[in-house]
Amino acid sequence: MRTLLLLSWKNIWRNKGRSMALMMAIILGIAAGLLMFGLVAGLVMQRFNGLVENHLSHIQIHHKDYLREQENKMILPNPQEIRQSLAGMPAIKGYAFRTLSFGMLASGYNSSGVKITGINKSEEGGISKFSENIIDGEYLDESLRYPLLISQRNARKLRVQLGGRVVLTFQNLEGDLTSAAFRVSGIFRTSDSNFDDLNVYVNQTDLQELLGENEAYHQVAILLESHEEAENLAALLSEKLPDVDIRSWSALSPELRILVEQGGFIMYIFMVIILLGLSFGILNTMLMAVFERVQELGMLMAIGMTKVKVAAMIILETTFIALIGGVIGVMLGLGIHSLFAEEGLDLSGFADALAEFGYDAIIYPLLEAKDIGITIIMVFVTAVLAAVIPAIRAVQLNPAEAVRK
């Protein structure tokens, strides 16, 4: 065995250029594969966290018909009961009651259809990082009468600035149109331009006052310790609270569900493509290495090297190359990865296009040890499998004919 290992190792360096080229291909394949894994995982994770932490949360509770009809009068019938139920639940990080209305936002210059969310600042802070999106002004300044958070896009569209006045018009619970003047207390910007176009935030008590009902809540957003518990907990809550509509994030946002489910799948497709390319490279290189050494392999078999050992030698040669390429490739991939993992990969050039789909301009690739392990194993298995055909070709040589050449 030692002899075989030594011989295989030495054989790699016979045609340095060719072995190096193959190693290079493996290095680049692995590095690219790892970066790809990292980017896709990072993209998915950021989109997921962005949605969940900005407004979606893990579970939402609504009036039975609210999600279908979205009428202001469909308020939660039993907020007290819901609070009691949530209080005793495990795995809940926090929850926030929200008051919602669809209406018209107008300045002296322009107007825009918006979804108004009335929030309780302290509750909301426990479940969302939305306040991090505020780029100017303050998060619903209590000292103002009727403060309002508006997106940068809407502020531009309506030509209003901090402290500026806008009018919100919507139906109260009786079905009558109400209007009130709000002051821009803060300006926000998320990575999702569609979201920004549609949403404004006000104080919950202000909105409830205007709706004409102090206990008017349309939505409860619940954040869990882990998103994986969402389905179970939603089911559990549904049993306790059969009169309201309770959904997990995957039911609330099919887009997100598909992204999370398919994200991993897409990565494996990329990986398979890279590996297919690699396996052809390996196959080709090792076949050449076999054809170049027909006489020598024939001689080895003639003097008594068994077919198993000849095949093992070819596979070992490939394995060594894959091993060297693999180790360097992982190091290179991790190196580049850690570069971007801290600073993020800045795709600002495509920021508008990305924002259109709700993605951040800066992507922080995400690599788990598991992904690295899978990558290495897959490359290794590919290398060995790709070496099988050249190894078979080698042992099929007829020593008598091979040495005659």
């Binding site: 030495k10 016979r14 006489q295 001689m299 003639a302 008594g304 050992k309 007829n398 008598a400």
Partner: protein
Amino acid sequence: MPIIQTKQLFKIYNEDTIPVYALRDLSLDFEEGEFTTIVGPSGSGKTTLLNMIGGLDTPTRGEVLIDGTNIASLRKGDLIDFRLRNIGFVFQSYNLIPVLTALENVSLIMELQNQDPKSTRERALQVLDEVGLSDKLHSKPSELSGGQQQRVAVARALASRPKFVLADEPTANLDSKSAMNLLDIMAKLNVEESMTFIFSTHDQRVIERARRVVTLVDGALHEDLVKSK
């Protein structure tokens, strides 16, 4: 009992199309300790005969017996093992592995036989000394002359103490001085290691050194001459 016997050996290539009779009805005995050369013009069947005796190729008809064993009766895996243990080979070219040193090339077969590393090394050093290459132990084949390479090949063939050594035109690529030198070494080893040698050649000066000359013409035995000492 002869160490090697061929019995009515035929090798016919392309039997179904245009048959080539590489060997015709060849019956030969080789005794232990012989120093025999197979001669004949190019295409007369020398390589084919050596390949049959070495078990690298199978006869169309007839048998090859080594120590009384019909090698056609051995299973493939056993045949390889049989070759490894019983037969040393020297080819016209491509005898050595270019990435290994002379010492490593000579040790290779013993290592493939899983012999004890210490005795392997001792034996390799001994045979390299016998072929006069003690000072080239760590040279790669590319750093050796053609004659030196063939001497390494002879050393390797001998190292694992096979029953006999088959050498197919070992001197064909050598100048006459190196050829004579190689022959001297083989003749010496024939005596000192009492090793049986069968080698082919069409070099007249080489033929003169052999003690038995088997001449083939068109695959058939033309003459079998044993010289008296």
